[in-house]
């Protein structure tokens, strides 16, 4: 079992209880998580191949071109796990650019579908490197909106160190669990704003042997 396997399971857990919604991902680890969830405790999830084909355990089961995805977004029957170049305590996310938008020091992807995703349906985030320059006081360009700006639901943020959620009175970020071998202090030091830390912090659950077998089957080349 590797740290990546723990992260895959933590990502999979984001979709637990979601029913027949479209699970969309960016990145290898969230994609493995969504596939693992579909094959185990969330069998009703819908996944695409990243383009227009709906897949169930790698077999085509339907057609969903991009214009139909926007219909799903508007209907709210989707739970996306996006990346984040910056993220603040309320879950405001930036993937557009770093610095002043009018002349950025670093142009990134653009807002993509993040504004529409976050206002319409459940969103989670995957951050492969938990560090202060990602977890910031204020993001430079609010692409995905957080709970203080009317987000539908920011459910969890899974990082290489921990799982964070928003189970606080003002729906700001809280440490839910630390991955095995990671200390609370490490997570706090890697977060650029004061993080709510409950009296008792759980350890992120480890994959079961059956889950490890599935992950190995889904990612035989170890891209995770």
């Amino acid at each position: 079992m590797s740290q990546a396997d723990v992260c895959v399971v933590a990502c999979a857990e984001a979709w637990r209880g979601d029913g027949a919604v479209l699970a969309s991902t960016t990145g290898v680890v969230p994609r493995l998580g969504a596939r693992l969830a579909q094959l185990t405790f969330a069998p009703d999830l819908l996944l695409t191949d990243g383009e227009a084909t709906l897949l169930h355990d790698d077999e085509p089961e339907g057609w969903l071109p991009y214009r139909a995805v926007f219909g799903v977004v508007a209907a709210g029957t989707r739970h996306v796990m996006m990346g984040a170049s910056q993220l603040d305590r309320f879950g405001n996310q930036n993937i557009s650019c770093i610095g002043d938008w009018h002349r950025p020091t670093r142009q990134l992807l653009g807002v993509r579908g993040a504004p529409g995703n976050t206002v319409n349906h459940t969103t989670s985030y995957w951050v492969p490197r938990h560090e202060p320059r990602v977890f910031v006081e204020h993001v430079d360009m609010v692409s995905g909106i957080g709970h203080d700006r009317g987000a539908a639901e920011i459910r969890v943020v899974v990082t290489n160190l921990a799982v964070l959620d928003f189970a606080t009175p003002d729906r700001s970020m809280r440490l839910r669990s630390v991955h095995p071998g990671v200390s609370v202090a490490e997570v706090q030091a890697a977060t650029g704003f004061p993080l709510t830390v409950p009296a008792f912090v759980e350890v992120t659950r480890e994959p079961t042997p059956a889950e490890l077998e599935i992950i190995e089957h889904l990612d035989p080349d170890g891209l995770r």
């Binding site: 991009y66 938008w101 579908g113 609010v142």
Partner: protein
């Protein structure tokens, strides 16, 4: 409706026009037409695109004043280097919309509506950096506030499909139509490049009727450009040329331009065919 050459299509365009380009990211882009615009040296264009190397090439060639988009990406290479560089040097203006907002803007234009209401954008900095955007309040019992996404009207649309006939009917053979029909419906002048010009009978028989994305009401000119989407994907005719895309993304612009863009489209295709596989 006329069958045209690449250069005749470009001859219909003028400096300062708003030009919509179909496809998505580095997929099914009318690259032969894009290359011809670079060669012709058009200036001050406003590009409307789900952006890929179409935007990057035209920006690098100095043809662009403003880009209207939700992203510019090469898909397998996340960031478009020429677009990013131009933004970081303040060389181009950007109208940055959520992807769904751009869809809605094209849909509004296609339906001759001044705007369409949408939730996407509410609460986000898209409204901060686009101070021209307004919200509307629903006149019904919910009274909710929504973004009034303005129509994105185009002077010209350029799209690339797998097959077309001489009348301007056209079909896609890949998995996704993207928004090419909406780009055409939102534009005053509509130009389609295709992998192969075929007879109407062959066009109709090559797949199911719902793959016939464009009809001749929506098209003013059609041009046959084999490998015209290169190096973006045009499945099932061909996939993305990843090795060429890497060269594009890493080469210095003057070298790339001299190697691939100084001649005409035939020269480009010959230069591509002569590359050592890498």
């Amino acid at each position: 409706m006329t069958v045209m050459s690449v250069d005749e299509v470009v001859g219909e365009l003028r400096d300062g026009m708003t030009v919509g380009i179909g496809g998505w990211g580095s997929r099914r882009k009318p690259m032969a037409l894009v290359r011809a615009i670079c060669r012709a040296g058009l200036r001050d264009l406003t590009l409307v695109s789900y952006g890929g190397p179409d935007v990057g090439l035209l920006v690098a060639a100095g043809c662009v004043r403003r880009v209207v988009t939700g992203f510019v990406s090469l898909d397998s290479i996340p960031l478009e280097p020429h677009f990013a560089r131009a933004r970081q040097h303040g060389e181009i203006a950007l109208l940055e919309y959520d992807e769904g907002m751009l869809y809605w803007g094209l849909l509004a234009a296609a339906n001759r509506l001044p705007f369409l209401p949408i939730r996407a954008g509410l609460g986000s900095d898209v409204l901060r950096v686009n101070p021209h955007l307004r919200t509307v309040r629903s006149p019904y019992a919910d009274s909710s506030d929504l973004v009034a996404m303005p129509a994105v009207t185009l002077d010209a649309a350029l799209v690339h499909l797998n097959r077309a006939d001489r009348r301007g009917n056209a079909r896609y053979l890949g998995p996704d139509p993207y928004f090419d029909d909406l780009f055409c419906l939102a534009a005053r002048r509509r130009f389609v490049s295709c992998e192969r010009l075929v007879s109407t009978a062959e066009l109709v028989n090559e797949g199911p009727p719902q793959g016939l994305l464009l009809n001749r009401m929506m098209v003013d000119g059609v041009v046959e450009t084999p490998h015209g989407a290169h190096f973006t994907s045009c499945v099932p005719d061909y996939g993305r040329d990843e090795s060429f895309q890497r060269e594009y993304a890493t080469a210095d612009w003057a070298t790339f331009r001299a190697t691939y863009l100084d001649g005409d489209e035939d020269d480009y295709q010959k230069a591509v065919a002569a590359r050592e596989p890498s």
